[in-house]
Symmetry: C2
Subunit: 236 residues, 2 copies
Amino acid sequence: MSHAEPGLAEKVARVSRVTLSEVVYRDIRELILAGQVAPGEKFTLRGMAEAVGTSPMPVREAVGRLSAEGALEILPNRAIRVPIMTRERFAELTIIRAEMEGLAAEYAARNAGAEEIAAACGFHEEFAAESAKADPDGAAALRLNKDLHFAVYRAAHMPNLLQIIDGLWLQVGPVINLDLRASGRRLKEVEAHKHHARLIAALKAGDGASARQALADDIRAAASFILATGDLPSAP
Amino acid sequence: MSHAEPGLAEKVARVSRVTLSEVVYRDIRELILAGQVAPGEKFTLRGMAEAVGTSPMPVREAVGRLSAEGALEILPNRAIRVPIMTRERFAELTIIRAEMEGLAAEYAARNAGAEEIAAACGFHEEFAAESAKADPDGAAALRLNKDLHFAVYRAAHMPNLLQIIDGLWLQVGPVINLDLRASGRRLKEVEAHKHHARLIAALKAGDGASARQALADDIRAAASFILATGDLPSAP
DNA sequence: TATTGTCATCTGTGATCACATATGTCAAAG
DNA sequence: CTTTGACATATGTGATCACAGATGACAATA
């Protein structure tokens, strides 16, 4: 290929053809993250294939990836289901999240550019506004909360860390969303916006230790609420 | 089971039945961990399938899982290769490892039973003995080093954390092993056994903070050596 | 010699088939 | 009414086939 023409041919060629496996993977992933599939729910390759209008093949690859990430579970019977979240597993994941996401916040405080901090700050203000309402929109607040968190994590400029955190959110996603439906005021009660404010202030000051502390507190406060009010089974 | 002859052999075969995908997955995984495939090396589904004596099908699933874990990489051309380790990626993975494995060590100091500490101590003594030799066996020392580390991580009793650490070792595995061949005395020069001794002492004392510090120092010392002496490319 | 165009081959992706096992149904025996 | 057995169906796993795009070899051309 000649390098002379960066024009149309190049662009068209760069149109990365996305595989069906990738599409199915992202579809199932979104279902799980949005909490639209309940923990313990089982499904089959052929059933999912018919639902998305493909052969079972792409679903197989998607399920393989998702089970490798812990977002799905393959029982000894070879059945496929959304993993059940126990109190013990949730507690462990909370410890890991506080550590990893705190680490990301610490490096974000060091490495973030001004525009990245501004973006995170924007999400923070939107979130605080939504939280302050008399009857806050839980789904919208939750989305803004996620936007804020990942704006910070991206600002750390650590792609491998970001990928691990992504996998952790995929595992706790169902519980977070299901719990929100059970108790809509969660985000206000745990005073998430106050933790967020401390986080943003630390980012602006370039104070890594404080950023880490604020983020860890945010995660632990939300987790404590879920462990206290949620109905997570206690099977070890 | 309603079959006429259940027989012992039948039962054993049925119980211990693992899928071919799983076998192939573990095979490739071991190749990568042992550093028997070089970073950048490419391979094909059909080629690997013929090598292991199956159809391409199980290889496809194994490769899918491994690429989800970052142990393999799928290029835009859809070619499959062992990821190239850059200085930047190695530095980031080292930060993450120091944090995660340090966390595991801290909880191991709290949660480990006496027999678990004894097992780790045994690996430590074997490792120290091998390191003290005039001409230490690098491969054996590396294996003992891994045994010691994972004995500690298992003692934390945090299965999710253990799985994440496993994935991290899978990503840094090739470099560790390749570097060892280039400079056999690495383990002695970085004085790994001294870090290990501090770690074991902290475990016995139940001192989580010291255990974390010792383990983080061990990882950072080895990483510094590789960054200083290795020939990792500097492509961001 | 260097470049380009053509053609045979290779490779990943997706669909379909074959098979062993797991699950569900239902009638007969206790 | 409960339990057990056989039988029909459904499901995951593995192999094979079909196909579009990528790769590589090689001759023709400037």
